[in-house]
């Protein structure tokens, strides 16, 4: 996604990335990043919290209007309403990232890719 942002920006379309994985986006280096310190899956505000979602979008607009240099990161300053324990547990044995069926679906997708590649379809 960051790579797409860079391509658009290099070709004259301003972009803002709204993301939770700050280190990944900053490693790829994008023009503007609004960082939301939430679990993967909720970069634009908590589910059903429309006021907060409006706030996140407004912060993204503001970043578009005020950034003057690339690699500008703004922290949206939000804290997950159920507390920060999720950060201790993400990617642990206790809470595997792709448990059961999700892991199988991921492996299946990987295998489909491998077969397409082997079959010369890529």
């Amino acid at each position: 996604m960051s790579l797409v942002a860079r391509h658009l920006e290099a070709n004259g379309i301003p972009t803002v990335v709204i993301a939770t994985a700050r280190d990944i986006v900053e490693s790829a280096a994008v023009p503007r990043l609004l960082f939301v310190d939430f679990p993967l899956g909720a970069p634009c505000g908590e589910p059903w919290n429309t006021e907060q979602q409006r706030d996140v979008l407004e912060q993204a607009f503001h970043l578009l209007e005020t950034a003057t240099t690339p690699r500008t990161t703004v922290d949206a300053g939000l804290v997950w309403s159920k507390g920060e324990r999720w950060k201790d547990l993400v990617f642990t044995e206790e809470q595997p990232f792709l448990p059961g069926e999700a892991g199988e679906a991921w492996l299946k997708k990987k295998e489909a890719y491998r077969q397409l590649k082997a079959g010369g379809k890529l």
């Binding site: 860079r6 391509h7 920060e84 324990r85 990617f91």
Partner: protein, 173 residues
């Protein structure tokens, strides 16, 4: 880490480090090489947002409920692909097929939490932005940074230009 009080603030998650040690522990020896750049391009806004056309570009595997186009696209999902979602689709008809989210902490039941289409329409309705482009775009993970750069990103650019997009919101899930 986990013995911290539940209400104490933590620093943000370092996913690159976390995933590296997690997948090492799962028996994957070769860590994923995340994209890394020192510089980034920059294009300032050329006109006010209130006169601009915006779109959303998403990697959340966004799909429309009861739409046959999304029923059987395992192959395109596997190879990476750019596709359009009409922006007049109510967010209540949108859903995500992604597995790559924190299923313990959140849910994908409200598309606006990762694909803020209703919120964007509200911003257009009150004049904060000019308009929402006719289509939003989805980009499937291509498993290849080269394919994303050389194949998918130019397709996204072409579609944005065809729709007269002035500004793009990009939301990785």
């Amino acid at each position: 880490m986990s013995d911290r009080p539940a209400d104490a603030l933590r620093p943000y998650v370092r996913y690159i480090d976390k995933t590296r040690s997690y997948y090492l522990s799962q028996g994957y020896a070769k860590p994923y090489a995340w994209a890394h750049n020192e510089d980034a391009p920059f294009t300032p806004l050329t006109k006010p947002l209130s006169a601009s056309t915006l779109t959303i570009i998403s990697t959340s595997e966004i799909a429309i409920k009861d739409d046959p186009r999304f029923a059987d696209d395992a192959e395109t999902k596997a190879v990476g692909h750019v596709y359009a979602v009409p922006s007049d689709t109510p967010a209540s008809r949108l859903y995500s097929r992604t597995q790559s989210y924190d299923r313990y902490a959140t849910t994908l039941d409200d598309a606006n939490a990762y694909f803020p289409l209703d919120r964007l329409h509200e911003a257009a309705a009150r004049g904060r932005i000019g308009r929402v482009a006719s289509q939003c775009l989805g980009v499937y993970n291509a498993y290849s940074q080269r394919k994303t750069c050389e194949r998918d990103a130019p397709v996204v650019l072409g579609q944005c230009r065809a729709m007269g997009v002035d500004v793009a919101l990009l939301v990785p899930v």
